[in-house]
Symmetry: C2
Subunit: 246 residues, 2 copies
DNA sequence: CGATATTTGTACGTATGTATT
DNA sequence: TAATACATACGTACAAATATC
């Protein structure tokens, strides 16, 4: 367990303005992620943590509540607070994933995340092929025109790529899928950073062609084809991430 | 906006023990779900809510925090708190879904939920066919034996059915999929209750046969077949829910 | 642009209730 | 029953962001 806690104004010159409960949250979270606080063991009591961190119980309670809401802790009324195993963690929570990225403990979920991403994108393409409105299709077409434009920079192309997949989800007309996308977007960003990879320049032409094929499938109302092309597209992208050290 | 709030000890004889912040949460949530508080309008200030509900700001803040975490409110530091539209709502949150069930405003997400359920179950079956261990397969087999046993009651059969799908997710060996299942389980229960349907007795034989085919596909490592059978299975179950008044 | 008022955010201390051991 | 530990709620003070004059 961490002995001390970085004060909110550790460097008087700068302005970190770290909130106390966030500092406590992070200190405890890191200890859990790294195994310093082992699964099943009891967290010190509220009052013990108050004295250890030198803060009020309000702060401790807020930190514990957040830790509990991401599944790191199991709070039992009257009995104590216990450390959960990784099976209990909310592996879709961006805050937790970010911390796992920072502590180098994110490896064991990367393959799981790729599964989810694939499932998600394939479903969006399939549903879009069934339900896209003329407006949806027009928006996708406009995007593809810009992607094919030789004047667009590499950076712009990456952004357009993301936007294309966003429009696809919108064209699926499923609100829950859109919510899941929001969660996954942050998570995948963390993952990409953890592996410090960028889109290969050479892939640009291939990628645009893939997107064109997906759009064609949607326009022709062929869900099976949309599904197959998206699957191939995603699996191509996965190759740049998979089979690296975990 | 609700004028008063059910006090925690409304009936001295019984022991409702309703928490104040939950009561406030619910009162405001209902007003938002039913449109009494329209999208984009401002929620009264903390202090105004304190006097209106007759509670401390601690209670109001806790309620607002929960409302914000399920996407019903948008809290802007220094500017005020505003009502979010349904596009912002976290439609996978069990607490919110439960409330939507109670207020009769859940209809517009049922079809979305069925999409998600189908996507989810099909993916689990496909992955299970790729990754199930001998232990996974033995557990599934044991479950099927009990399902075929004529001595199992109808109620038991429903429970075994749920357990089968749970084991399937476990056999997918994807932790995030398991977390999603937890969320969906509560949601689907609410949905079923909202439509007050139970499994048809006549479907029992068909259902067991379907499960057997899924297990066979997994044992034979045929993901495509597992995917197809599960799709048919889920779509069969959907027929008992779809095409009802929303 | 600047000063001020408003509104939300953070933190403290205290008191009391409730569940577990 | 008693002790322990978490839960809820109140009131207060000040900080920070925003809006308004």
């Amino acid at each position: 367990m961490t002995q001390t806690l970085t004060p909110p104004d550790a460097t008087p010159g700068t302005r970190p303005k770290r909130k106390l409960y966030e500092a406590v949250f992070e200190a405890i979270a890191v200890d859990i992620l790294q195994g310093t606080l082992p699964t099943g063991s009891a967290l010190p009591t509220d009052s013990a943590l108050c004295t250890r961190f030198g803060v009020s119980r309000t702060v401790i309670r807020e930190a514990i509540q957040h830790l509990s809401s991401v599944g790191l802790l199991d709070v039992r009324h009257g009995a104590g607070t216990y450390i959960n195993g990784s099976r209990q963690w909310d592996l879709l929570d961006p805050q937790l994933l970010t911390m796992m990225g920072r502590t180098g403990t994110i490896g064991f979920v990367i393959d799981d995340l790729l599964d989810i991403r694939r499932m998600f994108e394939v479903e969006a393409a399939t549903l879009a092929a069934k339900r896209a409105t003329p407006d949806d299709i027009r928006a996708l077409e406009a995007l593809l025109v810009r992607m094919r434009d030789p004047a667009t920079t590499e950076q712009e192309h990456v952004a357009l790529n993301l936007e294309f997949h966003g429009l696809l989800v919108q064209a699926s007309h499923n609100r829950i899928l859109q919510g899941l996308r929001e969660q996954l977007r942050g998570v995948l960003t963390v993952m990409m950073n953890a592996r410090h990879r960028q889109a290969d320049a050479e892939m640009r032409t291939v990628s645009t062609a893939m997107h064109q094929m997906i759009l064609d499938s949607i326009r022709e109302r062929r869900p099976d084809r949309a599904q197959a092309v998206m699957l191939a597209h995603i699996q191509g992208a996965e190759r740049s991430l998979q089979h690296e050290p975990r």
